[in-house]
Point group: C2
Chain length 318, copies 2
Protein backbone atom coordinates (compact mmCIF):
# COMPACT_ATOMS: atom_id res chain seq x y z
CA UNK A 1 0.00 0.00 0.00
CA UNK A 2 1.19 3.50 -0.73
CA UNK A 3 0.09 7.03 0.09
CA UNK A 4 0.45 10.06 -2.16
CA UNK A 5 -0.08 13.79 -1.68
CA UNK A 6 -0.33 16.47 -4.35
CA UNK A 7 0.84 19.95 -3.27
CA UNK A 8 -0.73 22.49 -5.57
CA UNK A 9 -3.61 20.04 -5.92
CA UNK A 10 -6.08 22.83 -6.70
CA UNK A 11 -4.24 23.99 -9.82
CA UNK A 12 -5.06 22.66 -13.25
CA UNK A 13 -2.14 20.23 -13.31
CA UNK A 14 -2.81 19.13 -9.75
CA UNK A 15 -6.45 18.38 -10.58
CA UNK A 16 -5.52 16.43 -13.68
CA UNK A 17 -2.94 14.53 -11.63
CA UNK A 18 -5.53 13.72 -8.97
CA UNK A 19 -7.81 12.30 -11.66
CA UNK A 20 -4.96 10.29 -13.17
CA UNK A 21 -3.95 8.81 -9.81
CA UNK A 22 -7.53 8.01 -8.81
CA UNK A 23 -8.08 6.24 -12.13
CA UNK A 24 -4.75 4.37 -12.02
CA UNK A 25 -5.22 3.31 -8.39
CA UNK A 26 -1.60 2.31 -7.83
CA UNK A 27 1.98 3.55 -8.14
CA UNK A 28 4.88 1.24 -9.03
CA UNK A 29 2.57 -1.72 -8.55
CA UNK A 30 1.47 -0.75 -5.03
CA UNK A 31 -2.20 0.11 -4.46
CA UNK A 32 -2.82 3.73 -3.48
CA UNK A 33 -4.45 3.56 -0.06
CA UNK A 34 -4.79 7.33 0.19
CA UNK A 35 -4.54 10.24 -2.22
CA UNK A 36 -4.55 13.79 -0.83
CA UNK A 37 -4.88 16.97 -2.87
CA UNK A 38 -3.59 19.97 -0.90
CA UNK A 39 -3.69 23.65 -1.78
CA UNK A 40 -4.03 27.03 -0.04
CA UNK A 41 -7.79 26.48 -0.14
CA UNK A 42 -8.83 22.84 0.15
CA UNK A 43 -9.62 21.82 -3.45
CA UNK A 44 -13.28 21.15 -4.27
CA UNK A 45 -14.84 18.85 -6.87
CA UNK A 46 -12.14 16.21 -6.52
CA UNK A 47 -12.59 12.73 -7.99
CA UNK A 48 -13.87 10.00 -5.69
CA UNK A 49 -11.20 8.71 -3.34
CA UNK A 50 -9.13 11.91 -3.26
CA UNK A 51 -9.06 13.76 0.06
CA UNK A 52 -8.92 17.59 0.08
CA UNK A 53 -6.54 19.42 2.44
CA UNK A 54 -5.92 23.13 3.08
CA UNK A 55 -2.15 23.63 3.31
CA UNK A 56 0.17 26.62 2.93
CA UNK A 57 3.68 25.33 2.15
CA UNK A 58 5.17 28.49 3.65
CA UNK A 59 3.97 27.11 7.02
CA UNK A 60 6.79 24.74 7.94
CA UNK A 61 5.01 23.02 10.83
CA UNK A 62 1.79 22.41 8.90
CA UNK A 63 3.79 21.08 5.94
CA UNK A 64 5.66 18.69 8.24
CA UNK A 65 2.37 17.37 9.61
CA UNK A 66 0.83 16.95 6.16
CA UNK A 67 3.79 14.99 4.78
CA UNK A 68 4.57 12.88 7.84
CA UNK A 69 3.24 9.60 6.47
CA UNK A 70 3.38 10.04 2.71
CA UNK A 71 5.25 7.70 0.37
CA UNK A 72 5.01 9.93 -2.69
CA UNK A 73 4.93 13.74 -2.65
CA UNK A 74 4.06 15.62 -5.83
CA UNK A 75 5.34 19.16 -5.22
CA UNK A 76 3.56 21.32 -7.79
CA UNK A 77 2.85 24.25 -5.45
CA UNK A 78 4.35 27.48 -6.80
CA UNK A 79 3.85 31.11 -7.58
CA UNK A 80 3.95 31.40 -11.39
CA UNK A 81 6.48 33.37 -13.45
CA UNK A 82 4.59 36.61 -13.95
CA UNK A 83 3.64 36.87 -10.28
CA UNK A 84 7.13 35.93 -9.05
CA UNK A 85 8.52 38.71 -11.25
CA UNK A 86 6.01 41.31 -10.07
CA UNK A 87 5.95 40.23 -6.41
CA UNK A 88 9.53 39.18 -5.72
CA UNK A 89 9.12 38.53 -2.00
CA UNK A 90 6.07 36.32 -2.51
CA UNK A 91 8.01 34.27 -5.07
CA UNK A 92 10.96 33.81 -2.71
CA UNK A 93 8.67 32.82 0.16
CA UNK A 94 6.61 30.27 -1.77
CA UNK A 95 9.01 28.99 -4.42
CA UNK A 96 12.21 28.91 -2.36
CA UNK A 97 11.28 28.83 1.34
CA UNK A 98 8.18 26.73 0.59
CA UNK A 99 10.26 24.19 -1.31
CA UNK A 100 12.76 23.98 1.56
CA UNK A 101 9.78 23.36 3.88
CA UNK A 102 8.58 20.53 1.64
CA UNK A 103 12.06 18.98 1.50
CA UNK A 104 12.46 19.25 5.29
CA UNK A 105 9.00 17.72 5.85
CA UNK A 106 9.85 14.84 3.49
CA UNK A 107 13.19 14.36 5.24
CA UNK A 108 11.71 14.20 8.71
CA UNK A 109 8.59 12.20 7.85
CA UNK A 110 8.67 8.50 8.51
CA UNK A 111 8.93 7.18 4.94
CA UNK A 112 11.85 8.66 2.88
CA UNK A 113 9.36 9.51 0.16
CA UNK A 114 9.76 9.85 -3.56
CA UNK A 115 9.41 13.62 -4.10
CA UNK A 116 8.40 14.63 -7.63
CA UNK A 117 9.21 18.34 -8.01
CA UNK A 118 7.91 20.27 -11.01
CA UNK A 119 10.60 22.64 -12.19
CA UNK A 120 10.38 24.49 -15.49
CA UNK A 121 12.09 25.27 -18.77
CA UNK A 122 12.33 28.77 -17.23
CA UNK A 123 15.56 27.60 -15.53
CA UNK A 124 17.21 27.92 -18.95
CA UNK A 125 18.34 31.10 -20.64
CA UNK A 126 21.26 33.47 -20.78
CA UNK A 127 24.55 33.21 -22.59
CA UNK A 128 24.69 29.45 -23.22
CA UNK A 129 25.21 27.80 -26.61
CA UNK A 130 22.46 26.18 -28.66
CA UNK A 131 21.00 23.60 -28.39
CA UNK A 132 20.48 23.23 -24.65
CA UNK A 133 21.52 19.73 -23.58
CA UNK A 134 21.29 17.89 -20.27
CA UNK A 135 24.61 19.31 -19.01
CA UNK A 136 23.98 22.94 -20.05
CA UNK A 137 24.31 25.46 -17.23
CA UNK A 138 21.14 27.01 -15.80
CA UNK A 139 21.10 30.78 -16.30
CA UNK A 140 17.48 31.68 -15.57
CA UNK A 141 16.29 35.11 -16.67
CA UNK A 142 13.34 35.30 -14.28
CA UNK A 143 13.02 35.07 -10.51
CA UNK A 144 10.69 32.09 -11.00
CA UNK A 145 13.41 30.29 -12.95
CA UNK A 146 16.10 31.16 -10.38
CA UNK A 147 13.92 29.90 -7.52
CA UNK A 148 13.09 26.66 -9.35
CA UNK A 149 16.78 26.11 -10.20
CA UNK A 150 17.76 26.60 -6.55
CA UNK A 151 15.03 24.12 -5.57
CA UNK A 152 16.48 21.56 -7.99
CA UNK A 153 19.94 21.85 -6.41
CA UNK A 154 18.48 21.25 -2.97
CA UNK A 155 16.30 18.35 -4.20
CA UNK A 156 19.40 16.63 -5.58
CA UNK A 157 21.39 17.27 -2.42
CA UNK A 158 18.63 15.98 -0.12
CA UNK A 159 18.48 12.90 -2.37
CA UNK A 160 22.26 12.40 -2.27
CA UNK A 161 22.12 12.60 1.53
CA UNK A 162 19.39 9.93 1.56
CA UNK A 163 16.87 12.29 3.20
CA UNK A 164 14.35 11.64 0.40
CA UNK A 165 14.23 10.26 -3.13
CA UNK A 166 13.79 13.20 -5.49
CA UNK A 167 12.92 13.57 -9.16
CA UNK A 168 12.85 17.08 -10.62
CA UNK A 169 11.10 17.61 -13.95
CA UNK A 170 11.72 20.72 -16.03
CA UNK A 171 8.30 21.07 -17.58
CA UNK A 172 7.98 22.47 -21.09
CA UNK A 173 5.52 25.28 -21.62
CA UNK A 174 2.16 23.59 -21.26
CA UNK A 175 -0.13 24.21 -24.16
CA UNK A 176 -3.08 23.95 -24.43
CA UNK A 177 -3.72 24.65 -20.76
CA UNK A 178 -7.44 24.63 -19.85
CA UNK A 179 -9.18 27.22 -17.67
CA UNK A 180 -8.64 30.95 -17.60
CA UNK A 181 -5.59 33.12 -18.41
CA UNK A 182 -3.27 33.40 -15.38
CA UNK A 183 -0.29 35.50 -14.25
CA UNK A 184 2.26 33.29 -16.03
CA UNK A 185 4.05 35.19 -18.78
CA UNK A 186 3.43 32.09 -20.91
CA UNK A 187 -0.34 32.32 -20.40
CA UNK A 188 -0.91 33.49 -24.00
CA UNK A 189 0.69 30.30 -25.32
CA UNK A 190 -2.50 28.55 -24.31
CA UNK A 191 -5.08 31.31 -24.58
CA UNK A 192 -4.45 31.94 -28.29
CA UNK A 193 -5.70 28.37 -28.92
CA UNK A 194 -8.08 27.82 -26.01
CA UNK A 195 -10.22 30.91 -26.50
CA UNK A 196 -10.47 30.83 -30.34
CA UNK A 197 -11.31 27.09 -30.26
CA UNK A 198 -14.27 28.02 -28.07
CA UNK A 199 -15.46 30.98 -30.14
CA UNK A 200 -13.71 33.77 -28.25
CA UNK A 201 -10.93 36.18 -29.18
CA UNK A 202 -7.42 36.17 -27.71
CA UNK A 203 -4.33 38.33 -28.13
CA UNK A 204 -0.87 37.09 -29.12
CA UNK A 205 1.72 39.47 -27.56
CA UNK A 206 4.69 38.12 -29.60
CA UNK A 207 5.27 37.52 -33.29
CA UNK A 208 4.44 34.28 -35.18
CA UNK A 209 8.14 33.32 -35.42
CA UNK A 210 8.56 32.94 -31.65
CA UNK A 211 9.58 29.30 -30.96
CA UNK A 212 7.98 27.44 -28.06
CA UNK A 213 9.26 24.30 -26.30
CA UNK A 214 5.91 22.78 -25.43
CA UNK A 215 3.95 19.76 -24.25
CA UNK A 216 0.28 18.90 -23.87
CA UNK A 217 -1.23 18.60 -20.37
CA UNK A 218 -2.03 14.93 -21.09
CA UNK A 219 1.61 14.10 -21.83
CA UNK A 220 2.94 16.15 -18.90
CA UNK A 221 0.63 14.29 -16.51
CA UNK A 222 1.77 10.97 -17.97
CA UNK A 223 5.38 12.06 -17.35
CA UNK A 224 4.68 13.26 -13.78
CA UNK A 225 3.12 9.87 -12.96
CA UNK A 226 6.11 8.13 -14.58
CA UNK A 227 8.42 10.21 -12.35
CA UNK A 228 6.76 8.62 -9.32
CA UNK A 229 7.55 5.16 -10.67
CA UNK A 230 10.95 5.50 -12.39
CA UNK A 231 13.85 3.52 -10.91
CA UNK A 232 15.99 5.78 -8.69
CA UNK A 233 19.15 3.91 -9.65
CA UNK A 234 18.70 4.96 -13.30
CA UNK A 235 18.40 8.67 -12.48
CA UNK A 236 22.07 9.46 -12.09
CA UNK A 237 23.56 11.85 -9.57
CA UNK A 238 21.65 15.00 -10.49
CA UNK A 239 17.95 14.44 -9.95
CA UNK A 240 16.45 17.20 -12.13
CA UNK A 241 16.31 17.21 -15.93
CA UNK A 242 14.30 18.53 -18.86
CA UNK A 243 11.23 16.59 -19.92
CA UNK A 244 10.88 15.78 -23.62
CA UNK A 245 8.92 18.35 -25.61
CA UNK A 246 8.49 19.72 -29.10
CA UNK A 247 9.72 22.99 -30.59
CA UNK A 248 7.23 24.75 -32.87
CA UNK A 249 6.81 28.43 -33.64
CA UNK A 250 3.57 30.13 -32.69
CA UNK A 251 2.80 30.28 -36.42
CA UNK A 252 3.31 26.52 -36.85
CA UNK A 253 1.12 25.81 -33.83
CA UNK A 254 -1.67 28.00 -35.24
CA UNK A 255 -1.40 26.21 -38.60
CA UNK A 256 -1.79 22.86 -36.78
CA UNK A 257 -4.89 24.17 -35.01
CA UNK A 258 -6.32 25.20 -38.37
CA UNK A 259 -5.68 21.73 -39.81
CA UNK A 260 -7.60 20.11 -36.92
CA UNK A 261 -10.37 22.63 -36.31
CA UNK A 262 -10.75 24.71 -39.44
CA UNK A 263 -9.89 28.36 -40.26
CA UNK A 264 -12.42 30.15 -38.00
CA UNK A 265 -10.29 29.91 -34.82
CA UNK A 266 -7.22 31.62 -36.28
CA UNK A 267 -9.30 34.62 -37.36
CA UNK A 268 -10.13 35.26 -33.67
CA UNK A 269 -6.46 35.95 -32.75
CA UNK A 270 -5.31 39.58 -32.44
CA UNK A 271 -1.61 40.50 -32.67
CA UNK A 272 -0.80 43.36 -30.29
CA UNK A 273 2.79 43.17 -29.02
CA UNK A 274 3.41 43.39 -25.23
CA UNK A 275 7.03 44.42 -24.51
CA UNK A 276 7.10 43.13 -20.89
CA UNK A 277 5.80 39.67 -21.83
CA UNK A 278 8.10 39.64 -24.86
CA UNK A 279 11.07 40.51 -22.61
CA UNK A 280 10.32 37.61 -20.23
CA UNK A 281 9.54 34.92 -22.79
CA UNK A 282 12.38 35.77 -25.17
CA UNK A 283 14.65 35.20 -22.14
CA UNK A 284 13.51 31.57 -22.28
CA UNK A 285 14.85 29.10 -24.78
CA UNK A 286 13.09 26.96 -27.37
CA UNK A 287 16.12 24.98 -28.55
CA UNK A 288 16.29 22.01 -26.22
CA UNK A 289 17.75 18.58 -26.95
CA UNK A 290 17.31 16.46 -23.82
CA UNK A 291 18.53 12.86 -23.90
CA UNK A 292 18.31 11.78 -20.27
CA UNK A 293 14.51 11.96 -20.01
CA UNK A 294 13.75 9.93 -23.18
CA UNK A 295 16.28 7.31 -22.04
CA UNK A 296 14.35 7.06 -18.73
CA UNK A 297 11.04 6.51 -20.53
CA UNK A 298 9.61 10.03 -20.47
CA UNK A 299 7.74 11.00 -23.65
CA UNK A 300 6.81 13.90 -25.95
CA UNK A 301 3.72 14.62 -28.03
CA UNK A 302 3.84 13.38 -31.61
CA UNK A 303 2.43 16.62 -33.02
CA UNK A 304 0.60 19.82 -32.05
CA UNK A 305 -2.35 18.49 -33.99
CA UNK A 306 -2.60 15.68 -31.40
CA UNK A 307 -2.33 18.31 -28.71
CA UNK A 308 -5.32 20.24 -30.16
CA UNK A 309 -7.30 16.98 -30.27
CA UNK A 310 -6.42 16.19 -26.62
CA UNK A 311 -7.67 19.64 -25.62
CA UNK A 312 -10.95 19.14 -27.44
CA UNK A 313 -11.37 15.65 -25.90
CA UNK A 314 -10.21 16.40 -22.34
CA UNK A 315 -11.07 20.00 -21.65
CA UNK A 316 -13.90 21.25 -23.82
CA UNK A 317 -17.31 20.27 -22.47
CA UNK A 318 -19.72 20.11 -25.31
Amino acid sequence: MTRAIILGGGGFLGRKLAHALAEKGSLAGKPLSRITAADLAAPEDLPAGVEPLALDVTDRAATATALAEEDVVFHLAAVVSGQAEAEFDVGMRVNLDGTVNVLEAARHGGRTPRVVFTSSVAVYGGDVPSPIVDWTALEPQTSYGAQKAAGELLLSDYSRKGFLDGVGLRLPTISIRPGKPNAAASSFMSSIFREPLQGETANCPVGPDYPVWHSSPRTVIRNIVHAAEVDAAALGRFRAFALPGRTDTIGEMIAAMTRVAGPEAEARITWNRDPEIERIVTGWRGDLAPTKAPRLGFVADASFEDNVRYFLEDDVRR
Copy 2:
Protein backbone atom coordinates in the same frame (compact mmCIF):
# COMPACT_ATOMS: atom_id res chain seq x y z
CA MET B 1 34.62 57.91 -1.05
CA THR B 2 33.60 54.33 -0.69
CA ARG B 3 32.89 51.93 2.19
CA ALA B 4 33.62 48.21 2.19
CA ILE B 5 32.75 45.37 4.56
CA ILE B 6 34.26 41.89 4.65
CA LEU B 7 31.93 39.15 5.96
CA GLY B 8 34.06 36.27 7.15
CA GLY B 9 36.72 38.85 7.95
CA GLY B 10 38.24 36.65 10.67
CA GLY B 11 39.09 33.82 8.29
CA PHE B 12 42.43 33.53 6.60
CA LEU B 13 41.13 34.92 3.27
CA GLY B 14 39.19 37.67 5.04
CA ARG B 15 42.32 38.75 6.92
CA LYS B 16 44.44 38.76 3.79
CA LEU B 17 41.72 40.76 2.03
CA ALA B 18 41.61 43.28 4.89
CA HIS B 19 45.37 43.76 4.55
CA ALA B 20 45.11 44.11 0.77
CA LEU B 21 42.33 46.72 1.02
CA ALA B 22 44.08 48.68 3.77
CA GLU B 23 47.27 48.78 1.69
CA LYS B 24 45.48 49.67 -1.55
CA GLY B 25 43.39 52.39 0.10
CA SER B 26 40.86 52.66 -2.73
CA LEU B 27 38.51 50.64 -4.94
CA ALA B 28 37.82 51.55 -8.56
CA GLY B 29 39.62 54.85 -8.03
CA LYS B 30 37.53 55.89 -5.02
CA PRO B 31 39.29 56.26 -1.64
CA LEU B 32 38.14 53.77 0.99
CA SER B 33 36.70 55.87 3.80
CA ARG B 34 35.90 52.83 5.95
CA ILE B 35 36.82 49.16 5.89
CA THR B 36 35.01 46.78 8.25
CA ALA B 37 36.00 43.18 8.97
CA ALA B 38 33.05 41.23 10.39
CA ASP B 39 32.93 37.70 11.75
CA LEU B 40 31.11 35.69 14.43
CA ALA B 41 33.68 36.99 16.88
CA ALA B 42 35.00 40.47 16.10
CA PRO B 43 38.36 39.84 14.41
CA GLU B 44 41.48 40.86 16.37
CA ASP B 45 44.91 41.98 15.16
CA LEU B 46 43.50 43.78 12.12
CA PRO B 47 45.65 46.15 10.08
CA ALA B 48 45.42 49.87 10.91
CA GLY B 49 42.28 51.46 9.52
CA VAL B 50 40.16 48.30 9.52
CA GLU B 51 37.28 48.23 11.99
CA PRO B 52 36.29 44.95 13.67
CA LEU B 53 32.62 43.93 13.95
CA ALA B 54 30.91 40.92 15.56
CA LEU B 55 28.21 39.73 13.15
CA ASP B 56 26.31 36.47 12.64
CA VAL B 57 24.93 36.42 9.08
CA THR B 58 22.15 34.07 10.22
CA ASP B 59 20.77 37.10 12.13
CA ARG B 60 18.83 38.92 9.42
CA ALA B 61 18.25 42.14 11.37
CA ALA B 62 21.87 42.47 12.48
CA THR B 63 23.05 41.80 8.92
CA ALA B 64 20.71 44.49 7.59
CA THR B 65 22.12 47.01 10.07
CA ALA B 66 25.73 46.09 9.27
CA LEU B 67 25.28 46.47 5.50
CA ALA B 68 23.01 49.51 5.50
CA GLU B 69 25.61 51.98 4.23
CA GLU B 70 28.19 49.84 2.46
CA ASP B 71 29.23 50.32 -1.17
CA VAL B 72 31.12 47.04 -1.46
CA VAL B 73 30.25 43.82 0.38
CA PHE B 74 32.72 40.93 0.30
CA HIS B 75 30.64 37.89 1.33
CA LEU B 76 33.18 35.25 2.36
CA ALA B 77 31.27 33.99 5.41
CA ALA B 78 30.56 30.27 5.13
CA VAL B 79 30.62 26.90 6.79
CA VAL B 80 33.29 24.87 4.96
CA SER B 81 32.72 21.67 3.00
CA GLY B 82 33.56 19.08 5.65
CA GLN B 83 31.42 20.77 8.28
CA ALA B 84 28.48 21.37 5.90
CA GLU B 85 28.59 17.65 5.09
CA ALA B 86 28.74 16.54 8.74
CA GLU B 87 26.33 19.17 10.10
CA PHE B 88 23.78 19.58 7.32
CA ASP B 89 21.47 21.96 9.18
CA VAL B 90 24.30 24.31 10.12
CA GLY B 91 25.40 24.44 6.48
CA MET B 92 21.87 25.24 5.29
CA ARG B 93 21.47 27.95 7.93
CA VAL B 94 24.78 29.71 7.29
CA ASN B 95 25.47 29.02 3.61
CA LEU B 96 21.91 29.32 2.26
CA ASP B 97 19.83 31.33 4.76
CA GLY B 98 22.86 33.47 5.66
CA THR B 99 23.48 34.28 2.01
CA VAL B 100 19.82 35.24 1.52
CA ASN B 101 20.17 37.52 4.56
CA VAL B 102 23.24 39.17 3.01
CA LEU B 103 21.45 39.66 -0.32
CA GLU B 104 18.36 41.08 1.40
CA ALA B 105 20.52 43.44 3.48
CA ALA B 106 22.38 44.61 0.37
CA ARG B 107 19.04 45.08 -1.43
CA HIS B 108 17.48 47.17 1.30
CA GLY B 109 20.57 49.20 2.23
CA GLY B 110 20.90 52.68 0.79
CA ARG B 111 23.60 52.07 -1.82
CA THR B 112 22.90 49.19 -4.30
CA PRO B 113 26.33 47.73 -3.43
CA ARG B 114 28.71 45.63 -5.43
CA VAL B 115 28.47 42.22 -3.67
CA VAL B 116 31.47 39.94 -4.21
CA PHE B 117 30.40 36.41 -3.27
CA THR B 118 32.98 33.66 -2.92
CA SER B 119 31.57 30.47 -4.37
CA SER B 120 33.71 27.41 -5.01
CA VAL B 121 34.83 24.83 -7.51
CA ALA B 122 32.75 22.50 -5.31
CA VAL B 123 29.71 23.56 -7.37
CA TYR B 124 31.07 21.31 -10.12
CA GLY B 125 30.85 17.54 -10.31
CA GLY B 126 28.55 14.80 -11.41
CA ASP B 127 27.80 13.45 -14.85
CA VAL B 128 29.05 16.33 -17.02
CA PRO B 129 31.57 16.04 -19.84
CA SER B 130 35.21 17.08 -19.61
CA PRO B 131 36.52 19.75 -19.60
CA ILE B 132 34.22 21.93 -17.54
CA VAL B 133 33.56 25.19 -19.38
CA ASP B 134 31.70 28.35 -18.44
CA TRP B 135 28.33 26.97 -19.57
CA THR B 136 28.65 23.53 -17.95
CA ALA B 137 25.80 22.60 -15.60
CA LEU B 138 26.45 22.67 -11.86
CA GLU B 139 25.98 19.22 -10.32
CA PRO B 140 27.56 19.61 -6.89
CA GLN B 141 28.36 16.44 -4.98
CA THR B 142 28.46 18.05 -1.54
CA SER B 143 25.96 20.07 0.46
CA TYR B 144 28.48 22.92 0.56
CA GLY B 145 28.58 22.94 -3.24
CA ALA B 146 24.78 22.79 -3.54
CA GLN B 147 24.36 25.68 -1.10
CA LYS B 148 26.98 27.79 -2.91
CA ALA B 149 25.36 27.04 -6.30
CA ALA B 150 21.95 28.10 -4.96
CA GLY B 151 23.55 31.29 -3.63
CA GLU B 152 24.96 32.02 -7.10
CA LEU B 153 21.52 31.73 -8.70
CA LEU B 154 20.07 34.17 -6.19
CA LEU B 155 23.04 36.57 -6.57
CA SER B 156 22.44 36.69 -10.32
CA ASP B 157 18.71 37.17 -9.90
CA TYR B 158 19.09 39.97 -7.34
CA SER B 159 21.54 41.60 -9.79
CA ARG B 160 19.15 41.20 -12.72
CA LYS B 161 16.42 42.83 -10.64
CA GLY B 162 18.75 45.77 -9.87
CA PHE B 163 18.63 45.08 -6.11
CA LEU B 164 22.44 44.89 -5.98
CA ASP B 165 25.43 44.47 -8.28
CA GLY B 166 26.78 40.95 -7.76
CA VAL B 167 29.93 39.12 -8.80
CA GLY B 168 30.26 35.45 -7.83
CA LEU B 169 33.70 33.85 -7.96
CA ARG B 170 34.10 30.07 -8.01
CA LEU B 171 37.36 29.85 -6.11
CA PRO B 172 39.80 27.08 -6.97
CA THR B 173 41.13 24.98 -4.11
CA ILE B 174 43.41 27.37 -2.27
CA SER B 175 46.86 26.00 -1.75
CA ILE B 176 48.99 26.76 0.16
CA ARG B 177 46.57 28.01 2.80
CA PRO B 178 48.31 29.30 5.98
CA GLY B 179 47.23 28.49 9.53
CA LYS B 180 45.99 25.20 10.89
CA PRO B 181 44.13 22.29 9.28
CA ASN B 182 40.36 22.93 9.21
CA ALA B 183 37.16 21.00 8.55
CA ALA B 184 37.33 21.47 4.78
CA ALA B 185 37.75 18.16 2.97
CA SER B 186 40.41 19.97 0.94
CA SER B 187 42.41 20.86 4.05
CA PHE B 188 45.14 18.31 3.22
CA MET B 189 45.80 20.06 -0.10
CA SER B 190 47.50 22.76 1.93
CA SER B 191 48.71 20.85 4.98
CA ILE B 192 50.89 18.44 2.97
CA PHE B 193 52.95 21.48 1.90
CA ARG B 194 52.50 23.85 4.84
CA GLU B 195 53.52 21.47 7.63
CA PRO B 196 56.49 19.80 5.85
CA LEU B 197 57.85 23.22 4.76
CA GLN B 198 57.93 24.12 8.47
CA GLY B 199 59.54 20.91 9.70
CA GLU B 200 56.39 19.01 10.64
CA THR B 201 54.73 15.87 9.28
CA ALA B 202 51.39 15.76 7.40
CA ASN B 203 49.22 13.03 5.94
CA CYS B 204 48.02 12.84 2.35
CA PRO B 205 44.67 10.94 2.32
CA VAL B 206 44.57 10.48 -1.49
CA GLY B 207 47.03 9.12 -4.04
CA PRO B 208 49.67 11.23 -5.86
CA ASP B 209 47.73 11.08 -9.14
CA TYR B 210 44.78 13.07 -7.75
CA PRO B 211 44.45 16.27 -9.87
CA VAL B 212 43.77 19.59 -8.12
CA TRP B 213 42.40 22.79 -9.65
CA HIS B 214 44.24 25.27 -7.45
CA SER B 215 45.33 28.85 -6.86
CA SER B 216 47.61 30.59 -4.37
CA PRO B 217 46.06 32.82 -1.68
CA ARG B 218 47.95 35.79 -3.13
CA THR B 219 46.36 35.33 -6.55
CA VAL B 220 42.88 34.66 -5.13
CA ILE B 221 43.04 37.88 -3.12
CA ARG B 222 44.14 39.77 -6.22
CA ASN B 223 41.11 38.32 -8.04
CA ILE B 224 38.68 39.12 -5.21
CA VAL B 225 39.85 42.75 -5.23
CA HIS B 226 39.51 42.79 -9.03
CA ALA B 227 35.93 41.54 -8.65
CA ALA B 228 35.12 44.68 -6.65
CA GLU B 229 36.40 46.82 -9.52
CA VAL B 230 35.41 44.98 -12.71
CA ASP B 231 32.91 46.70 -15.01
CA ALA B 232 29.39 45.31 -14.43
CA ALA B 233 28.48 45.74 -18.10
CA ALA B 234 31.21 43.25 -19.08
CA LEU B 235 29.95 40.51 -16.73
CA GLY B 236 27.12 39.20 -18.86
CA ARG B 237 23.78 37.99 -17.59
CA PHE B 238 24.97 35.29 -15.17
CA ARG B 239 27.07 36.87 -12.47
CA ALA B 240 29.01 33.84 -11.17
CA PHE B 241 31.88 32.09 -12.95
CA ALA B 242 35.00 30.06 -12.32
CA LEU B 243 38.21 31.92 -11.50
CA PRO B 244 41.30 30.96 -13.47
CA GLY B 245 43.46 28.30 -11.83
CA ARG B 246 45.98 25.59 -12.58
CA THR B 247 45.54 21.81 -12.72
CA ASP B 248 48.38 19.80 -11.22
CA THR B 249 48.39 16.40 -9.57
CA ILE B 250 49.37 16.12 -5.93
CA GLY B 251 52.55 14.44 -7.15
CA GLU B 252 53.40 17.33 -9.48
CA MET B 253 52.76 19.85 -6.70
CA ILE B 254 55.08 17.93 -4.35
CA ALA B 255 57.78 17.85 -7.06
CA ALA B 256 57.46 21.64 -7.43
CA MET B 257 57.86 22.06 -3.65
CA THR B 258 61.00 19.95 -3.80
CA ARG B 259 62.43 22.08 -6.61
CA VAL B 260 61.93 25.24 -4.53
CA ALA B 261 62.67 24.02 -1.02
CA GLY B 262 64.74 20.83 -1.31
CA PRO B 263 63.94 17.17 -0.64
CA GLU B 264 63.48 17.26 3.16
CA ALA B 265 59.87 18.45 3.09
CA GLU B 266 58.56 15.62 0.89
CA ALA B 267 59.99 13.02 3.29
CA ARG B 268 57.70 14.39 6.02
CA ILE B 269 54.50 13.39 4.11
CA THR B 270 52.70 10.19 5.12
CA TRP B 271 50.29 8.45 2.71
CA ASN B 272 47.39 6.93 4.64
CA ARG B 273 44.18 6.87 2.55
CA ASP B 274 40.97 8.30 4.07
CA PRO B 275 37.88 6.94 2.26
CA GLU B 276 35.50 9.72 3.40
CA ILE B 277 37.81 12.52 2.28
CA GLU B 278 38.58 10.63 -0.92
CA ARG B 279 34.83 10.25 -1.57
CA ILE B 280 34.23 13.99 -1.20
CA VAL B 281 37.22 15.28 -3.15
CA THR B 282 36.96 12.81 -6.02
CA GLY B 283 33.40 14.19 -6.44
CA TRP B 284 35.07 17.48 -7.36
CA ARG B 285 36.59 18.14 -10.75
CA GLY B 286 40.11 19.18 -11.75
CA ASP B 287 39.48 19.60 -15.48
CA LEU B 288 38.33 23.21 -15.83
CA ALA B 289 38.71 25.46 -18.85
CA PRO B 290 37.17 28.82 -17.95
CA THR B 291 37.27 31.58 -20.56
CA LYS B 292 35.01 34.27 -19.09
CA ALA B 293 37.22 35.09 -16.10
CA PRO B 294 40.49 35.51 -18.06
CA ARG B 295 38.62 37.72 -20.55
CA LEU B 296 37.51 39.91 -17.63
CA GLY B 297 41.09 40.30 -16.36
CA PHE B 298 41.15 37.64 -13.63
CA VAL B 299 44.45 35.76 -13.40
CA ALA B 300 46.07 32.41 -12.49
CA ASP B 301 49.41 31.51 -10.92
CA ALA B 302 52.23 30.89 -13.38
CA SER B 303 53.44 27.77 -11.53
CA PHE B 304 53.14 25.90 -8.22
CA GLU B 305 56.79 26.80 -7.64
CA ASP B 306 55.69 30.47 -7.49
CA ASN B 307 52.96 29.41 -5.13
CA VAL B 308 55.49 27.77 -2.75
CA ARG B 309 57.58 30.95 -2.88
CA TYR B 310 54.52 33.13 -2.08
CA PHE B 311 53.81 30.94 0.95
CA LEU B 312 57.38 31.26 2.22
CA GLU B 313 57.30 35.05 1.66
CA ASP B 314 53.79 35.81 2.91
CA ASP B 315 53.00 33.26 5.59
CA VAL B 316 56.12 31.79 7.17
CA ARG B 317 57.56 34.01 9.89
CA ARG B 318 61.25 33.40 10.18
